[in-house]
Amino acid sequence: MNLPPELKYTASHEWARLEADGTVSVGITDHAQEQLGDIVFVEPPKVGRQVAAGESVGVVESVKAASDIYAPLAGEVVANNDELGASPERINADAYGAWMYRLKPADAADLAKLLDSAAYAKASAE
């Protein structure tokens, strides 16, 4: 399984990366894109929205099915990756490059509570 060790993960198949400016980028894992198949539509949460950890905040649709995306942390949505609107297939090509949205975490310490790559690998193998 392709799981960069520097990222944090959720059992619902999101990854989270702390950026230099203190925001957290969120996407779906390589395992998730593989399960979904060819992705054709992404709807990230609106910029400015306050989200709770574990809240359903958007949707990703493949040819096969629609799947909810969840917020890994509480915080405010500060950016969307607009490139995915025209090219959602970038998630299939590069799941960890294709971030969907960025959060300003309510508490940066929450990041440490997410799964590391080993724990995610174990959770998603079950």
Partner: protein
């Protein structure tokens, strides 16, 4: 325990993602469903359809029996090898299954039916056989496997792999089959809207056929691409676009029902008495904001409708669907579809959406 086809190990070795499809362990894709879809529209692809069931009907009364059992009329099949598409109706004119009937000899027809409905179909045919008294012998051909080679270059790929079959199959027209060996049948049929063959053969010979056409350039394709291809081609999927709750008229299949003359096929009286419940038409999503899917509600001028099959069309680059719409809804009408918490604009069209690689809408 899932049922497997004789090609199961080959699919797994090719890296297929396998799914439970009505109790069968089948490949959904071998990587990218969209690439597989394009291969069929542009060159050639091959599908394992061994889960489908062939049922042989034998006896001198077989033609009369099928004229009674099927909503389409096998009297149209005059040349050996000719085939037609038909519904099998129940007593209230609901669709028990859709199938292809092949005429081989005056005492031998074959039905190719859906996997999930096969056992029920056979029970039903036994009941009709007892009722009609033609003394037809039914034989479920669980010993046969089947592949579908589809695409503009599919026939050429098949002939490159098996040149000895060319003479017997080159002159086949659509919906015509030829027997090219003891138990090998090559039919110019399919479920993609492209040219090609469906080939049935003994189970232990299917790997040779599969490997041959793959070596000749046909790309292995899974059930995912099969679904997007058939939907673009405006072809119904049993269990989704119709079932026993729908008559053929409610499922866009009036063209498959032969009401000429007084032929008393099973379900005819109920069909003629049954009010039309809906118009079965296509939708093209015009807004961004999601993908049309089965069970979404459609708000049309004359009331509500429901999507029965929906997907993203790889050929058109937009979402398309088949839907039950209020009677009187016309192509060109603008409707709204409830997609999650939104209402998105869609346009009503007459399927098919794509045929022979060309957009039609």
């Amino acid at each position: 325990m899932l049922k497997t086809t004789p090609l199961n190990a080959i699919h797994r070795a090719a890296g297929a993602r396998m799914v439970d499809f009505g109790g069968w362990d089948m490949p959904v894709n071998y990587g990218s469903q969209i690439e597989e879809h394009h291969a069929v529209r542009r060159s050639a692809g091959v599908f394992d359809v061994s889960h489908m069931r062939s049922v042989d009907l034998e006896g001198k009364g077989v033609r009369d029996f099928l004229r009674f059992a099927l909503a389409n009329d096998v009297a149209k099949l005059k040349l050996p090898g000719k085939a037609l598409y038909s519904c099998l109706l129940d007593e209230s004119a609901g669709v028990i299954d859709d199938l292809i009937a092949y005429y081989f000899r005056d005492d031998w027809f074959r039905l190719v039916v859906n996997a999930g409905t096969a056992d029920g179909d056979i029970d039903w045919l036994h009941r009709l056989n007892a009722l009609a008294g033609h003394g037809v012998a039914l034989r479920s051909r669980d010993d046969l496997a089947m592949i579908a080679v589809q695409g503009p270059q599919a026939r050429e790929a098949f002939w490159r792999a098996f040149p000895e079959t060319r003479a017997a199959t080159e002159a086949l027209v659509p919906f015509q089959a030829a027997r090219v060996g003891d138990d090998i049948v090559v039919a110019r049929t399919g479920y993609t809207g492209e040219d090609g063959f469906e080939v049935s053969c003994p189970a232990d010979e299917v790997a040779t056929l599969w490997n041959g056409v793959v070596a000749a350039g046909a790309r292995p394709c899974g059930l995912g691409a099969r679904d997007t291809l058939r939907l673009e081609a405006g072809m119904n999927l049993y269990g989704q676009d119709m079932d026993t709750g729908a008559s053929p008229f409610d499922a866009g299949l009036a063209w498959t029902v032969d009401l000429a003359g007084a032929r008393g096929f099973f379900g005819r009286k109920a069909l003629e008495a049954r009010p039309r419940a809906c118009d079965f038409l296509g939708l093209v999503l015009e807004d961004k904001g999601g993908v049309l899917r089965a069970h979404q509600i459609v708000l049309a001028e004359r009331g509500e409708g429901e999507i029965t099959s929906g997907t993203f069309s790889p050929t058109l680059g937009v979402s398309i669907a088949l839907a039950r719409l209020p009677v009187g809804t016309a192509p060109g009408e603008k409707v709204r579809v409830q997609v999650r918490d939104k209402e998105l604009a869609a346009r009503v069209v007459k399927p098919p959406f794509v045929r022979h690689g060309k957009p039609l809408i």
